[in-house]
């Protein structure tokens, strides 16, 4: 710690940290633009100028840029000196010279860092009378608007997009007053993390395009702390509502998980909440096959009748733990299934077994960024757990950070660190079914069928420690990948192994565990990250069920009643089995939010609330329980699924599930030994701040509350009372000292933009005050097991059978593979057409080429062909969730035939 004097007041600061960060961490106010906690300092905007004095004698001082100056003990600076203030006021005046002053029509207005800094710097009157330069804006795809005239040339966008996220199609063009930040020509911004530009750009150049279609100012939005439902990473989000519509999703800082950034699936994948296909009423199928609307009471009664004499319950990895638990209690453990496909369920059990052995650390995303060597075994993380890929991208910088440290370059000195370590990167080894986007950063790659990748994994563990059994013989290139991987990983201090369930192969997970455990035994701090597909896959896995999905469906087919919770089972099981379950079951009750193939076949449908209209808990890949809070109340009959289930239980005469309140269900969840931590994931409904206040969902400037529904009813509505959570449905209450899990929006006096988040952090860019949200539940001490013997390679024959048929393997797309986000318009617009990947030889045999069509009669589906040289004979890879496919590939081999009728759809891009 260093002592620094700022305007005569002493502060503690971290030696070597940049002065701007230190000043902000001390909760002082200093304007800035180009610096960002995750992007470092480049000194481009000159807005953070302060005066530094040589010693006590020095009254003159000299102007320095705080963001470019390291803190040193005894340092004397002034933020308030007239010189510094004047300079900063001039800088903003220059920056604003060409700015159109169009705040009233700008979507950044009211949460604009430029507005905040302009006010803070005291530039209140415009003197410039000349012409302003004007630009043409570009079409950038469905996610972002572009309004270049508002640019202040801070370079944050390109530094984020290129340096941090690895995009190449956003660039800075021109020079001097004509700088242009955009694409070479109009077109979709390709990087799947592009949406963060909305929050990174301090002005209104890049704004949220879907949001702008029904725009609302930040101060008029009602928001709540939430968790992304897009994948198993569990990024923290702030979704916002007005007029009963979910309007947008912003990042909610969590220093251990997502930091400042989301992926585009998470940011733009919520549209289904407002969809026309939402179910709002209770429906019962009449004799003529159509649904009749019945009342909520009748619905409860009917569901009670269905479960009274026992039923099979199918849970869901996309539903909250609370709703899953309610179903589990209602039908009983032996009749409850997690709702994961049988294959995925087995893998989830395996992952929990691995973690419970406690052989290696489960890394947070922040720790992924710190890994100094990463091996990815089989999982295409960019498309299955996207934010992990962004973290891996940062990990390869560790080598250059280390070099910078040795050369005495401060790590925040962005340009210095980057140019000094230009050629160097920490090792990244990618073993994958098909080439992946991360390959461009990889030092070593290898492609193969899942079984060969697993064999490679076992071989790596064996190379590290011969007590771990090696698998099959490997071919030359795979063997050399194995040799390199073993060498590289054993040199690392913080190696990390990543795998997951997406290829539905247990060998990959076992091999990954073996490698991490073998590394750990060498004394390093090895990490093991095993990801699943959905927001609560890990949660339902931990809750556990007595039967797997196929068994559950078979029981239904044999005449058992069936209750399906937020699950389109047609995506997860064999279509014939599903059909026989639906026809054989005495009654099929489905609770869901959107119409789908399962609700189509139901005899009773009950409208379930989405994440936005309910409070509940998801457990992410690291076993972190995180609470999401109701953003706005569900309308009409819609209710959280747990509530329907508990009411049905009461109707059926059950007296162990009279839950009125989500906290009671949380408690019931936490009584499960594995899930004790769930109770502490967030404060319960009784929590109030020191002054006895709730945390408001609405900012204090929230307007029109009493009038906004006057178009429907002129009577002033009563403010809704929140019976369940510590949040209020209004601006009443107080923000500021709430635990991080309750941060419903970020705002601080003078800081209207999301930059205000530093006011809620322990130090700038560090953990949230009071600790990052969430409770980790899978950390375990090393168990008394023989690690080397626990998972042994299986001899699985690989290769074609020679009958010309194909074994289908799954691949995923960040846009389109996940069920609910895939039904959101901007995501669907970015999703690829259904495709199939064939090896060169097989493509030749079928006489098809890239872009032509192939039909699969068994799946009754047509795909656009992609050719991948290396893919082995007898294999074909299809993208899950696209073109009518669900989450599973058939286990039987299928036939493929060229489709002469196939016409690639012309890419119609809706502009505007």
């Amino acid at each position: 710690m260093a002592k620094i004097s700022v305007d005569g007041v002493e502060f503690d600061a971290k030696e070597g940290e940049n002065l701007l960060q230190a000043v902000l961490s001390a909760q002082l106010e200093l304007p800035y633009f180009c610096w960002h906690p995750s992007l470092g300092s480049v000194g481009a905007c000159r807005q953070c100028a302060v005066i530094q004095y040589a010693d006590e004698e020095d009254t003159q001082g000299r102007l320095i840029m705080a963001c470019m100056t390291p803190v040193a003990d005894g340092m004397r600076v002034s933020l308030e000196a007239a010189h510094a203030r004047d300079f900063r006021a001039s800088v903003i005046e220059w920056l604003m010279e060409n700015h159109p002053h169009d705040c009233p029509v700008c979507e950044e207005g009211g949460e604009c860092h430029l507005q905040d800094m302009t006010v803070m710097s005291g530039h209140t009157a415009r003197r410039y009378r000349g012409n302003k330069r004007t630009f043409e804006n570009q079409y950038l795809g469905p996610f972002l608007n572009h309004e270049m005239n508002r640019c202040i040339t801070c370079y944050r966008c390109v530094r984020y997009y290129q340096d941090y996220a690895g995009g190449t199609d956003l660039q800075a063009f021109g020079s001097r007053a004509r700088m242009y930040f955009g694409r070479e020509e109009a077109g979709v911004l390709e990087n799947p993390f592009s949406g963060n530009l909305v929050e990174v750009c301090p002005t209104g150049v890049f704004t949220d395009k879907p949001f702008s279609k029904t725009y609302t100012r930040k101060w008029d939005l009602q928001s709540a702390p939430s968790v992304c439902a897009g994948c198993a990473v569990g990024c923290n989000t702030i979704p916002s509502e007005r007029y009963g519509r979910l309007k947008r999703v912003h990042n909610r800082y969590n220093g251990s998980v997502n930091g400042y950034f989301l992926c585009d699936r998470g940011r733009y994948g919520f549209g289904y909440v407002n969809d026309d296909a939402r179910i709002h009423k209770v429906g019962v199928r009449a004799a003529d096959g159509v649904f009749d609307v019945i009342s909520a009471e009748e619905g409860e009664e009917k569901l009670g009748d269905i479960v009274r004499d026992g039923a099979i319950g199918i849970g869901s990895p996309r539903a909250s733990l609370e709703s899953n638990l309610a179903l589990k209690v209602l039908v009983g453990e032996e009749n409850f299934c997690t709702g994961l496909s049988s294959a995925e369920d087995a893998l989830m059990r395996l992952i929990l077994d691995v973690y419970e052995c406690g052989g290696a650390r489960i890394p947070t995303l922040a720790q992924v960024e710190e890994a100094d060597a990463v091996l990815i075994l089989g999982e295409d993380v960019l498309n299955t757990a996207p934010r992990v890929a962004l973290a891996v991208r940062q990990s390869v910088r560790n080598e250059s950070l280390e070099m910078a440290e040795q050369a005495g370059i401060p790590l925040w000195q962005e340009a210095g660190v980057r140019s000094h370590g230009r050629e160097s990167a920490s090792p990244l080894l990618v073993a994958s079914l098909l080439p992946t986007e991360l390959d461009e950063l990889a030092t070593h790659t290898c492609n193969g069928a899942p079984e060969s990748l697993a064999a490679a994994g076992f071989a790596i563990a064996h190379r590290l420690n011969s007590a771990y059994a090696a698998g099959e013989e490997l071919d030359g290139p795979t063997q050399s990948f194995v040799d390199d991987a073993a060498a590289v990983l054993s040199r690392a201090k913080r190696p990390l192994v990543i795998s997951g369930t997406s290829l539905r192969n247990d060998g990959l997970i076992k091999a990954a565990a073996n490698i991490a455990w073998a590394l750990k035994a060498q004394g390093c701090d090895a990490g093991l990250l095993l990801t699943a597909a959905e927001a609560n896959s890990c949660g339902v896995g931990m809750l556990g069920g007595g039967v797997d999905l196929d068994t559950a469906l078979r029981a239904a087919a044999a005449g058992q009643a069936l209750v399906v919770l937020e699950n389109d089972v047609t995506r997860r099981a064999d279509p014939d089995l599903v059909a026989s379950a639906f026809s054989g079951s005495t009654a099929v009750a489905v609770l869901d939010s959107l119409e789908n193939a399962t609700t189509e076949s139901a005899s009773l449908v009950l409208p379930a609330a989405t994440f936005a209209e309910s409070t509940g808990t998801f457990v992410n890949y690291e076993g972190r329980a995180q609470r999401f809070f109701e953003v706005f109340a569900a309308t009409g009959e819609t209710a959280p699924a747990w509530r329907w289930l508990s009411k049905a239980g009461a109707r059926a005469g059950r007296n162990d599930m009279h839950w009125q309140h989500v906290d009671q269900v949380v408690e019931a969840v936490a009584s499960h030994p594995r899930l004790v931590g769930v109770a502490d994931a967030a404060p319960n409904g009784g929590h109030r701040n020191a002054a006895g206040n709730r945390v408001p969902r609405a900012p204090h400037r929230y307007s029109g509350r009493t009038a906004m529904n006057a178009g429907v009813n002129i009577h002033e509505p009563k403010t809704q009372v929140d019976e369940e959570t510590p949040l209020s449905y209004s601006m009443e209450g107080a923000m500021g000292d709430q635990p991080a899990a309750l941060t419903s929006y970020v705002w601080s006096p003078g800081w209207n933009s999301n930059q205000s988040v530093f006011k809620f952090q322990q130090e700038v860019g560090g953990a949230m005050a009071g600790g990052d949200p969430g409770v980790r539940m899978l950390d375990a001490e090393p168990a008394q097991v023989d690690f080397a013997q626990r998972y042994r390679p299986l001899q699985t024959p690989i290769g074609a059978e020679g009958d010309g048929r194909f074994k289908l393997l799954p691949t995923h797309s960040i846009f389109g593979s996940e069920e609910l986000s895939g039904r959101s318009q901007p995501i669907a617009e970015r999703g690829p057409q259904a495709f199939i990947v064939l090896g060169a030889a097989e493509a030749a045999r079928l006489q098809v080429a890239e872009g032509m069509g192939v039909r699969c009669p068994e799946l009754d589906a047509t795909f656009a062909v992609r050719v991948e040289e290396s893919l082995a004979e007898g294999l074909a890879v299809v993208a899950m969730g696209l073109g009518g496919l669900g989450d599973e590939v058939p286990s039987e081999r299928v036939t493929l035939e060229p489709d002469p009728e196939f016409v690639p759809p012309t890419t119609l891009i809706a502009r505007g």
Binding site: T168, D169, Q171, A172, F173, Y180, R183, E184
Partner: protein
């Protein structure tokens, strides 16, 4: 021929050869960006979108990244220019020595303003910063040749020398 080859085919084999020769001296292909742009401009007078994409392919970088470099330099021309480019210095020494009169004379005799090209495609007129020849101010540069101590009367004769 692959799409990549076709694009590179926009360039002449001499251009490709000259660019490859530059690359040979450098640590990576991207580092030859400036040289490559200059080689193509020297050959064609300017760098079209097609040439730019072709160079980017050859250097293994995105067209956007190369254009970011190209547009930073005001002497890499991303629009067609005349057969001769006249650059008139308007920095301080030339200003003190009365360059404005000279510039006006040039503009009048060509009938174009700075930034424009004459209709016959003969000249493009561009302002420029100090040419490092202040001792001979006012200075103008046409193509690669410097003209110092230019007086208004000299203008017609100088322009005549560039057909």
């Amino acid at each position: 021929m692959s799409e990549a080859d076709q694009l590179i085919d926009v360039l002449t084999s001499e251009e490709v050869e000259a660019i490859e020769a530059e690359i040979a001296h450098l640590p990576d292909r991207e580092s030859a960006a400036m040289e490559a742009l200059q080689i193509v401009q020297a050959n064609r007078g300017w760098v079209s979108d097609a040439s730019l994409s072709a160079i980017a392919r050859l250097l293994g970088m995105s067209a956007a990244a190369l254009d970011s470099i190209a547009t930073f330099y005001n002497l890499i021309f991303r629009q067609p220019v005349g057969r001769h480019v006249i650059m008139t210095c308007d920095s301080v020494s030339c200003f003190v020595m009365g360059c404005e009169k000279v510039h006006k004379a040039i503009e009048e005799s060509l009938g174009v303003s700075p930034g424009e090209t004459t209709e016959d495609g003969r000249y493009t007129l561009l302002p420029i910063v100090c040419l490092g020849a202040c001792d001979r101010a006012p200075v103008i540069m046409i193509d690669d040749e410097l003209h110092g101590d230019v007086a208004v009367e000299d203008v017609p004769a100088i322009l005549e020398r560039y057909p």
